[in-house]
Assembly symmetry: C2
Amino acid sequence: MFKPTTIKDIAKELGFSISTVSRALRDGYEISEETKKIVMDYAQKINYKPNPIALSLKERRTYSIGVIVCEVANNFFSQAINGVESIAYDKGYHVIISQSHDSFEREVINVKHLANRSVDGLLISMAAETTDYAHILEMHNKGLPIVFFDRVIDEINTHKVTANNFQGSFDVTELLIKNGVKKIAHLGNAPHLSITKERMSGYKAALEKHGIAFNEEYVQYCHHGGRKYDEVEEAVKQLVTGRDKPEAIFVSSDRLSVGCLSAIKKFNPLSKDILIAGFSNSDVVELFDPSLTCVRQPAFEMGRLATDLLIQLIESKYPVTEFQSKTLNTKLYLNNKTLSM
Amino acid sequence: MFKPTTIKDIAKELGFSISTVSRALRDGYEISEETKKIVMDYAQKINYKPNPIALSLKERRTYSIGVIVCEVANNFFSQAINGVESIAYDKGYHVIISQSHDSFEREVINVKHLANRSVDGLLISMAAETTDYAHILEMHNKGLPIVFFDRVIDEINTHKVTANNFQGSFDVTELLIKNGVKKIAHLGNAPHLSITKERMSGYKAALEKHGIAFNEEYVQYCHHGGRKYDEVEEAVKQLVTGRDKPEAIFVSSDRLSVGCLSAIKKFNPLSKDILIAGFSNSDVVELFDPSLTCVRQPAFEMGRLATDLLIQLIESKYPVTEFQSKTLNTKLYLNNKTLSM
DNA sequence: TTGAAAGCGCTAACAT
DNA sequence: ATGTTAGCGCTTTCAA
């Protein structure tokens, strides 16, 4: 069952040696046109395909790249993966996707599994739970090409691709302020994540620019990044039932934004006195009620870029020592008639 | 760079032969406890991991399974993939995800690529464009284990896992009828897809049961499955600007349902005189405006089940000749105060 | 109990 | 121009 033809079979069938067949197939210069034609035609006829496993063993590479994200059921990541694929396919690489589900343990398993010669390089957006980077560091030190995207870490020196999280946060916060909103709460992902910190900075900077004091009580974090709805609901509850109810909530992550909308809807089914703004790559934002003013990341482009850099690392003849940190601009989308630019 | 330890290195280091090391590591019965301990401890210490490529070449299997879906940026599929993963990981298989983007050409490439010894078996939901099944048939005939899920085809005899599309359609159509809605249009995916046909049947059966004539003018298909928004918009336009405007539209696919909501919102921003009901696995349906009454498929469970069946096929010692077609029930969710069960 | 050697499919020196 | 051989990392006869 499922016993594919090998080069040996062809050699036997055609009466050539294995190496002649091999060379003919790769169009080697030493082989006569005549022989080439015979071999090629026959290979064509029986639809011969070389065994990629054998090739991998020989060449010590797999022509596949691993992608580790928290989950694919997330607009930002599925779009980013489409970007990854678009480049990878063109350059002849497979894409192996693994989900960490924001779990440290799962991330470690995935990294080890993929890095253990299943892939030639790794594209990773860190899990929300991860604070110990030993597993990544180990692979990096062994020479495995790694490119970070979205959720990056300072501890490792390699290419990094992120959205301009600071500016995106700044812009949306300022937009709210310019529309007369002063009491802006902030709902963030796990606090140690790079995206959380960067987005927090942008938010604070906008407040500061406009002379609004930063209020610690207006800040809530969701350590599971919105993957546990209860956590989001509890955080939103804290915000809306606090002493000084905010006029708006800025939500700093994709999954969290819709979670926040659901929670708000639950607490406040009728009144729409709290504006929600946040990072989201949903392609149906215009359908949401309550409406979501959103910051959109160039996910597809980020995936492309990160993959391009990764493949450069993989294919580089010499050890790469100069690394790039690319930052791509976000875009703001109003979905609410009460707001204007 | 990135040169991992091999069994040979261990043998040299410890002064044993390669085969002794190999056997010690696999806990072979012929090896003395003492030698085993030495080898195991050392392997542990240097964190030795066997090269999976070499194992694959030897065992003629890869311990990975391929999944081909139209896209991961789709609630149903990303949930199904989570189900696939949950089983695959437990049984020690990698999951390689490929997207067809509903393109026939892409599907053919993906199938050939994966089937060509990159995976031990294939899980597939057919692309909307595909009407020629030669590429699948070829692999099936070569003995590659294949399990279909969601979008299945009759032409190949193997395990199949689907939602009860007929019943789901029937239920939601009947719900509308029982709520006094008689003029129900139907917006479907590509007409040759199994899901499209089954859902159409359920719709027709409900109409018939309640003595409502089937009206050809109330039917529109989207050959690209909602992946091209213009197509959806045009179809919806046809429906709502026809001679006899429907009171409701039943949309028979996940991606199409939100597309339809967008289109309706565009044509009818204020009046909400057209109810939309349809298949959707969105986890934020309660946020949609206009509201979407939806049929939800047990995506995760379908993924689990399909994977379980696939792994059974892969690991079966004997050729399997008895195949199962599993059908799982859908669930109806009202998100509209004007409707009741 | 351990080692030598063949073989999985392929490529690439090294012969001829 | 073509064939022989070794080797990629591992398992597994077969010999010792």
